[in-house]
Structures are given as structure tokens and as C-alpha cells.
């Protein structure tokens, strides 16, 4: 074992740093046409009339269609997660036919010989709307008099979960803290905009898409369009980030296939950023009411959670499941006697929400870690001490939580110890006390977040019990080639994570071959026929384990051949550094020699199939549970509302680490996104339901100048639920950092009587919050 654990530089980089990339928008096919969409300028309206005729007469235009032209064949965009008995899944035509329900919904399209001409001709389409009332506020939407987004009403579903006697926990509780938090709506903003290319020879179809989920997409597109699954190939070429936003079956993907079929020519559509901000699914958008009951000494008795979750106008691929991924996380790392969770999904006339980095778990962790700080203030304890009194101690694992998950391992003490040391916790607390004493206009806040998350999605049985439409396994194949090189096929489809490098490291160790001798293929259903793709920090903990298991099978086959060639019994062979040796003698065969022998097939054991390859499909028995302690120090200017992150320490326990460089990179990026939610980003709709943050000038993603350098470190408590001992790291930083930052801001302002600042905590919000508690006019 030398490769696993080493900071290998990535194999992926060579192409990416030289521009030899294969983004979907790069693809040019002979005769290819460009598609542009006309989108609804209204949040809610009936379509009275559409005439695409005039657009068809514009230069370069080959065709123009409205929703009506595809009404018979476009089907309904799928929702794969009917979460409850009462769930309402409205019809969701890729191009609206009768009614539009959010600004940006596609109503017509133009297909032309270049992208400029396609865009130009949109203006010639004649369309008439009859405006209907917008539905924007969730609480209002649920009232009897509210206008309806859909015939069936604005309630998408209700979902409840509970364990223990919650009434007893709250009855006579010495301390109850009851808070409501707003999880603002976010725009995932992967740097590569979405793009799709579809081509057909009349019978078979190929779809290139900037997607995280080529495999799921293929199945869902086959079901939606009626194109037989075996005639449809889906390719995810280089994909420029996803963060959940490319975990979707989109209107533009369905329509690309239909247009290619209708016109018999390849078509391409690439979104502009402004189009994307309106029409790539959004994230978060929940109203969270959380109450905790506790003893005077801070020990938790129970937690009650009530959510309103904004679905937007339709249920997309996993829209209603997102808040439920948090349902099992509102208890975090803490012990308590009772837990109660309820969620109502609400339709509004906004872009649908769906998975965004962390998906449900950041929301849960935010509310919990925020309320823990409120409780600490209430009972007069240091926030870390309160957490210590409640968390699961390391000797208590495996531990079945009040939410009925079994945490296999963890060491919250160790991570916290390490984090406080790196942070200089006591010193910063002393400085804080000093500034408070001096009534310094610039106050120091210290934010704590001791998080865990469930990842490695997911045990198929658990998904089944939650009514999800598919399993959570992952597939890999490993084949030794005649010359001893190795090809790996993975069902987990990367978009920046570094699968190729990490898988090469796993294979190099397992088969004793050089790192350079391994190549990894992915993201094309013709090459990688089975897979469940990439999301939910699952790639390594599920897909990586499948790779390891396939290697183990290959090795066992090779052992049979080695034994035959060495005239020994397989049990007498030991495998080290890529060679089988007969114990106690020097005689041996390298795995490369065996690969060649298998290829030649001249002298194999009786009945041995001449192929040194294997498939494996791993279905985890449990989730994995990364955890960690994040500490943030923020200076807040109480006169201007300006804040500045002074230091940020993240100590994460993601189990065994295959590549520390990749792990650190994932943490960095996750932190940036979590901090962005805390301080910068919000998708804003105006009172008419127009999205105001359509550009990168309005939707403020942090730049390098907005973020600090992060201090990161790790503790390593191996997961016991998989043979690699890994837990997953893709979302940890995002989950932990949002509450750490807001806790720090509130901590800075608590002496001023502030108990909450709504995210994003912009200088203006901070200033207004302070003005509010001071009783001044804001």
C-alpha cells in the first residue's frame, strides 16, 4: 500500500491546463444546427396564442416550434422521488403548452444555422399571454384563498418522521429555545453553463450533455421520450462542475433529442449565463422552525423541526426528496430522547429547486448548529462546552441515533481538540472579551460548527424505504490487458473531482501495477454501461469500493493461473508488489506475466475462461458519516456592518484518505460555497416573480479577494462500513461552514442583543439588524 494516501498530482490536469478539453459546447458535428429558446417573461400566465411562423422566415432559420408542436411526444419531465402517499406530481411539459409557471420557462424554440441567427429569430415569434397571479410566499401559498400554481393546489406533499416521546421531552422542559431560520434560495453556478448536443441516424441517438448523471439520464430520457434505451447513448464529455445542478433531466435535453429526430440533423443548445440563472434548478429555499428542549445544564431532551420547503413550480428529478435528506440530520452528532420532523413541500411560481451541494444536510446542519449556539447562550455555556455535553463520545460507536441512523464511527473529541489548537480558541476568546470590555466598534465573533453528515449515497434498501425510484449501488469493471496495463471502467461520472487519479491509486495498490499503467474510462454509456453517477459524496465510498472489489476479483483469477503455472496450490501463494510467489520459495509470476499468459491461453487451468477482468457492483449497507469541527473568527464593524473573516479552521474526519491533495481541494471548494451562502449569495425574485439575480453581476459569487486562506487539517477515523475505510468529502465543507460563519457573526453581535442575522449576512443586513435592535429606524 503505497499509492493510497499519497498526494499524487492529478492525471486529469494535463489536458485541462493546455486547453485540450472536450466541453459539450466544443462539439461540432456535420450539418449541426443551433437551438435557442423563447422563455416566459411572466411568473404565471396562460398562453393564449403562439405563432412561430414569422420566425421561420428569418435568415438562417430551419425550423421553429412551440410547445403545441411537441405536445404529443414531449412527455413530462420526470420526478423520480414520489416521497409520500399525498405527493402531487404535476405534469411538466419540457416546452409549456397551456400555462407558464415561472420566469424562464421555455415556450418556443428556433433552430438555425448558427447561434446568432437562432437568437435573433426569437424576436419574430408572436406570443400572447394572459397574466395569472404569481405565487411567491410559501406561507401565503398554503392559505385557502391563495391563487393556485397547479389545479391540485399549492401543497406538494407532507412528510413526517419522529422517534421517542416528543411531548414528554418538551413538557416541563427547563429550557426551550424556539427559532425560525430562512434558508435563502441559491443558484448553484457551476462555471460551465449547460450544453447539449443530440444526433441521430434515424434509429439510434447520441446525446452529449454537460451532466453529472449520464446513466440515470439515459434511463429517464428513454422513459420520457419513448426512444428505446438500447438505441440511446448518453455521453458526458468534460463537465465543468455540477454541485448538484447537473443532476437533472432537463427540458433542453429532452427537446434536443426530439428536435434531432424531427429534423434529422444534429442540434446543439448552449445556455447563456443569464438563461442559466433563471432555468438551472435552484437550491435550498426553506423556512425552518426548530425548537429544542433541554435541561438547565444544557443536556438535550428533544428537537422538533417544522419545514416549509419551496419546490418552485414543478417537481423535478429529486426536488421533493431534498429536504428529506436532511430529515435524519437535525440531531447531528448529539444524543437526545426524542425527535420530531415535519416537512411541507410548497409550489410557488419560481424555478424549481433541487439538489445543490449538500442537498438537505446543509440546511439541517445550519438550523441545528445555529440553535445550539442559541441554547448555549441561553444556559450560559461556551458553545463548545454545550456540544461536549451532548455529543456521542468516541467509545459509544457504533451508535444508533434518535433519527434511527447507525453512525459506525467517529471521534468528535479528537477533531475538536485539533481544531481548537490550530485556531487558538482560548486566545481568541480572550481577545473577544477584551474588545467587548472596551466596547470596540469592531467586535470579534467566534463561530463553532461540529457537524456530521450522511453520505456515500446510498444503501438501495434505504432508498427504497424512502420511495426513491432507483438504487444506490455503483459499478466498476477492471480489465488487465495482454501487456499488463489496466483499464478501469467506472459508473461514477466525474466533473472535476479527480476520479481518474484516485481510482488509479486504488488499482495500483490492489493489483501491484504502476500508477501510470492504469487508465480510467467513464461518462459514456457505450463504454460504461452501468452506473449511478456522481452526487451525494458517493463516488469514493461507493464507486471506489466497487473498483477495489473488481480488483480483488481480478487478483483471485490471476491467483488461479499463477498457481497453475507455478504448480502450487492457490493457498500457498502470496501476493505482494504485483507478483504471486510460492511461500518459502523464490518462485513467482508477476501479474503482468499472468495477463499475457491469460491472453495467449495456451496453458490455463482446466475450465478457466481466458480473460483477466472482472465486474463488481457495490451496494453499501450503511451510509458513511464524515464529521468535523469548524471554527471561524470574524471581525464585524458594528458601525458599518462590514465583516471580515479573520481565520477559518476546518478539521474534518473523512475516514481513510486516498489522495490528501484532492481531499484538501474538496474541502477548500466546499468552504467557499458554504461561506458564499452565509455572506454573499441569494437568488432574489421581485414582487411580480421576476428573477433579479440573472447575471454574475447581480448574483454575487465570491472572488479570490472575498475569501481568506483556509487552515485545514484532518483526523482519521476509518469508516467501518466499507473496505476502504473512506467516508466521502465532496459536501463536508459546504455543510459545516455556513453555520460556522453565521454563528461567528451572531456571536460578535450578541452583546448588542442580536440573536440572528438573515443570510446572506451582507453589510447592509448586519447594519439593519443592529439598527433594529437599537430601536433606530432602519
Amino acid at each position: 500500500m503505497t499509492e493510497v494516501g499519497s498526494a499524487r498530482r492529478r492525471k486529469e490536469d494535463a489536458r485541462l491546463i493546455t486547453g485540450r478539453t472536450q466541453w459539450t459546447d466544443n462539439i461540432q458535428l456535420p450539418g449541426m444546427l443551433y437551438v435557442a429558446y423563447l422563455r416566459s417573461p411572466m411568473a404565471h400566465a396562460r398562453i393564449v396564442r403562439v405563432d412561430t411562423g414569422p420566425a421561420r422566415r428569418e435568415p438562417g432559420v430551419v425550423a421553429a416550434f412551440s410547445g403545441r408542436d411537441f405536445a404529443q411526444e414531449q412527455g413530462s419531465l420526470p420526478c423520480a422521488w414520489p416521497v409520500s402517499e399525498d405527493v402531487v406530481i404535476p405534469d411538466h411539459p419540457p416546452m409549456a403548452v397551456h400555462e407558464v409557471r415561472y420566469v424562464g420557462e421555455a415556450v418556443a424554440c428556433v433552430v438555425a444555422t448558427d447561434r446568432y441567427k437562432a437568437a435573433d429569430a426569437l424576436a419574430a415569434i408572436e406570443i400572447e399571454y394572459e397574466e395569472l397571479p404569481a405565487v411567491l410566499d410559501m406561507a401565503e401559498a398554503l392559505t385557502d384563498t391563495a391563487p393556485k400554481v397547479h389545479e391540485a393546489g399549492n401543497r406538494a406533499f407532507t412528510w413526517r418522521f419522529g422517534n421517542g416521546d416528543i411531548d414528554a421531552a418538551f413538557r416541563d422542559a427547563p429550557v426551550v429555545v424556539d427559532r425560525t431560520y430562512v434558508q435563502q434560495r441559491l443558484i448553484p453556478s457551476a462555471m460551465e453553463p449547460r450544453a447539449v448536443v443530440a444526433a441521430t441516424d434515424g434509429d439510434a441517438f447520441t446525446l452529449y450533455s454537460a451532466t453529472q448523471i449520464p446513466h440515470i439520464l439515459r434511463v429517464m430520457l428513454a422513459l420520457t421520450t419513448g426512444i428505446p434505451e438500447h438505441r440511446l447513448r448518453v455521453i458526458a464529455p468534460d463537465v465543468g462542475g455540477g454541485f448538484g445542478s447537473k443532476l437533472q433531466v432537463t427540458a433542453e435535453e429532452v427537446l434536443a433529442l426530439l428536435l434531432a429526430r424531427r429534423l434529422g440533423r444534429p442540434v446543439k443548445w448552449t445556455e447563456s449565463r443569464s438563461e442559466g440563472n433563471m432555468t438551472v434548478h435552484h437550491g435550498r429555499d426553506q423556512l425552518q422552525r426548530i425548537s429544542v428542549a433541554a435541561e438547565r445544564d444544557g443536556r438535550l431532551r428533544g428537537i422538533k423541526v417544522d419545514l416549509l420547503a419551496d419546490m418552485g413550480a414543478y417537481l423535478m428529478l429529486v426536488t421533493p426528496g431534498i429536504p428529506l435528506l436532511g430529515a435524519f440530520m437535525y440531531n447531528g452528532i448529539y444524543k437526545m430522547d426524542a425527535y420530531d420532523f415535519g416537512c411541507t413541500g410548497v409550489f410557488t411560481t419560481k424555478m424549481p429547486t433541487d439538489a445543490y451541494r449538500g442537498a438537505g444536510r446543509p440546511e439541517a446542519t445550519y438550523a441545528l448548529e445555529r440553535v445550539m449556539d442559541e441554547l448555549a447562550a441561553e444556559v450560559g455555556l461556551d458553545p463548545l462546552e454545550l456540544r461536549r455535553r451532548n455529543w456521542i463520545r468516541h467509545e459509544e460507536f457504533p451508535y444508533t441515533t434518535i433519527a434511527n441512523l447507525t453512525y459506525d464511527s467517529g471521534n468528535y473529541e479528537a477533531a475538536t481538540e485539533r481544531a481548537t489548537t490550530l485556531f487558538g480558541y482560548d486566545k481568541l476568546r480572550a481577545e473577544q472579551a477584551d474588545r467587548r470590555e472596551r466596547r470596540d466598534p469592531v467586535q470579534l465573533g467566534i463561530g463553532v460548527s461540529t457537524y456530521t453528515e450522511m453520505c456515500g449515497l446510498a444503501p438501495s434498501r434505504v432508498l427504497g424505504s424512502l420511495s426513491y425510484g432507483a438504487g444506490g449501488w455503483e459499478h466498476a469493471s477492471v480489465r488487465m490487458l495482454p501487456t499488463g496495463k489496466v483499464e478501469v471502467v467506472t459508473g461514477s461520472s466525474p466533473h472535476g473531482q479527480g476520479h481518474v487519479t484516485a481510482w488509479s491509486q486504488i488499482v495500483a495498490d490492489a493489483l501491484g501495477v504502476p500508477f501510470e499503467d492504469v487508465s480510467v474510462m467513464h461518462g459514456d454509456t457505450a463504454v460504461s454501461p452501468r452506473g449511478m453517477d456522481t452526487y451525494g459524496s458517493r463516488s469514493l465510498a461507493v464507486g471506489g469500493v466497487a473498483v477495489l472489489q473488481a480488483c480483488d476479483k481480478v487478483k483471485e483469477k490471476a491467483r488461479q493461473v499463477a498457481a497453475h503455472l507455478l504448480e502450487a496450490s492457490p493457498e500457498d501463494l502470496e501476493f505482494a508488489e504485483g507478483s504471486f510467489r510460492v511461500r518459502g520459495t523464490g518462485a513467482g509470476r508477476s501479474i503482468q506475466e499472468i495477463a499475457l499468459a491469460v491472453f495467449a491461453a495456451h496453458d490455463l487451468p482446466d475450465g478457466f475462461e481466458p480473460a483477466l477482468d472482472a465486474d463488481a457492483t457495490f451496494d453499501p449497507e450503511n451510509f458513511s458519516y464524515p464529521h468535523g469541527t469548524h471554527l471561524c473568527a470574524i471581525e464585524v464593524d458594528t458601525e458599518t456592518g462590514q465583516s471580515r473573516i479573520r481565520s477559518y479552521v476546518a478539521v474534518d474526519d473523512v475516514g481513510k484518505v486516498v489522495n490528501p491533495l484532492i481531499v484538501e481541494g474538496q474541502v477548500h471548494g466546499g468552504l467557499a460555497q458554504g461561506i458564499a451562502q452565509a455572506l454573499f449569495e441569494e437568488a432574489v425574485y421581485d414582487a411580480d416573480g421576476n428573477l433579479l439575480t440573472t447575471t454574475m453581476a447581480d448574483y454575487l459569487m465570491p472572488t479570490a479577494a472575498d475569501l481568506p486562506d483556509f487552515v485545514t487539517d484532518r483526523t482519521e477515523t476509518p469508516a467501518t462500513s466499507n473496505p476502504l475505510g473512506v467516508k466521502g468529502v465532496g459536501e463536508a465543507g459546504t455543510i459545516a461552514s455556513t453555520p460556522a460563519v453565521v454563528n461567528a457573526i451572531v456571536d460578535a453581535l450578541r452583546p448588542h442583543g442580536v440573536h440572528d442575522v438573515r443570510m446572506p449576512c451582507t453589510p447592509e443586513r448586519i447594519w439593519r439588524t443592529l439598527a433594529g435592535v437599537r430601536g433606530g429606524a432602519a
Binding site: 490536469d13 493546455t18 459546447d25 465543468g240 460555497q673 447575471t695 453581476a697 472572488t703
Partner: protein, 161 residues
């Protein structure tokens, strides 16, 4: 249609272009230089950054006709004689990219930054790259890479910032 002459990564092209054609679309759609990507439509992201006559420019905010007679250097032309530019090596070594979509623009913007300030502090790199967005890396490793690249380019030690 106007006729322009433009040199891209050492190759001279003569093209007839619509006056409104953006340089980035000329590069990508007409000349097949797809190494330079597009990330936005409001000149905010910097993904499309190239060197135009030796200074960095967002190629989505330049018309092809404005590039008439100019020399354009893209990420694809940066490695000379098959040898990576020190900044490219530094991005690789410091793991300064994940999906890589922002990388061409980051590297070209950094190149320009280092012309002005061959030994930038951490602060200066962060300020200098303000026009380039990355959604994956959280910027830490990009900052490290730019300073490492600077060091390699000038053969100096990176001074503490």
C-alpha cells in the same frame, strides 16, 4: 462583411466576419480554438481570458473586428515547444484546478498579473484575480499556484506576504 487578419497562437488567419461576432466565438466556432471557454454573458467570470497583443483581455468583450491585426495568445498556445509554461506546471503541482473550466482564464489572467508584479503577495494575487471566478477550488490553491509560478518564472524564492 469585414475582412480581418488575426494571429492566434502563432497561426495567421484571414476571416470574413459579421461586425458583431465576438472574438471568443471567432476562436471557438470558426477557428476551432476551443481551449478558451465561455462562462457568462456579462464579462464577469473571466473564463474567456486571452492575451491580446500581450495584455489580458476577456475575449467575450472584444469584437472579432477589434482584433483585426492583433496577436492573440490562448491557453492552447502557451506551452512552447511542447514544454509547459511555469504557470501551467504550477497549477498542476498545487492542485489549483478541479473541473478546469476556469483554468485557461485564470492562467492567462495570472500571466498578465505577473507582468505587472513579478513577485506578488498573497493579497496582491487575490486582488489581481478578482475578475476571474472559480466555483470549485475556493481559490487557495490558485493563489499558491500563481505565486509558485512567479517563483519559477523569475527563479526567485517567494517572499512571505
Amino acid at each position: 462583411m469585414p475582412r480581418i487578419t488575426v494571429t492566434v497562437d502563432g497561426v495567421t488567419y484571414e476571416e470574413e466576419v459579421e461586425p458583431r461576432l465576438l472574438l471568443v466565438h471567432l476562436l471557438r466556432d470558426r477557428l476551432g480554438r476551443t481551449g478558451t471557454p465561455i462562462g457568462c454573458d456579462t464579462t464577469n467570470c473571466g473564463a474567456c481570458t486571452v492575451m491580446l497583443d500581450g495584455r489580458s483581455a476577456k475575449s467575450c468583450s472584444v469584437l472579432a473586428v477589434q482584433a483585426d491585426g492583433c496577436d492573440v495568445l490562448t491557453i492552447e498556445g502557451l506551452a512552447a515547444d511542447g514544454r509547459l509554461h511555469p504557470l501551467q506546471t504550477a497549477f498542476h503541482e498545487e492542485h489549483a484546478l478541479q473541473c478546469g473550466y476556469c483554468t485557461p482564464g485564470m492562467i492567462m489572467a495570472a500571466l498578465d498579473l505577473l507582468k505587472e508584479d513579478p513577485d506578488p503577495s498573497e493579497e496582491a494575487v487575490r486582488e489581481g484575480l478578482e475578475g476571474n471566478l472559480c466555483r470549485c477550488t475556493g481559490y487557495c490553491n490558485i493563489v499558491r499556484a500563481v505565486r509558485r509560478g512567479a517563483q519559477a518564472m523569475s527563479g526567485r524564492e517567494v517572499s512571505a506576504s
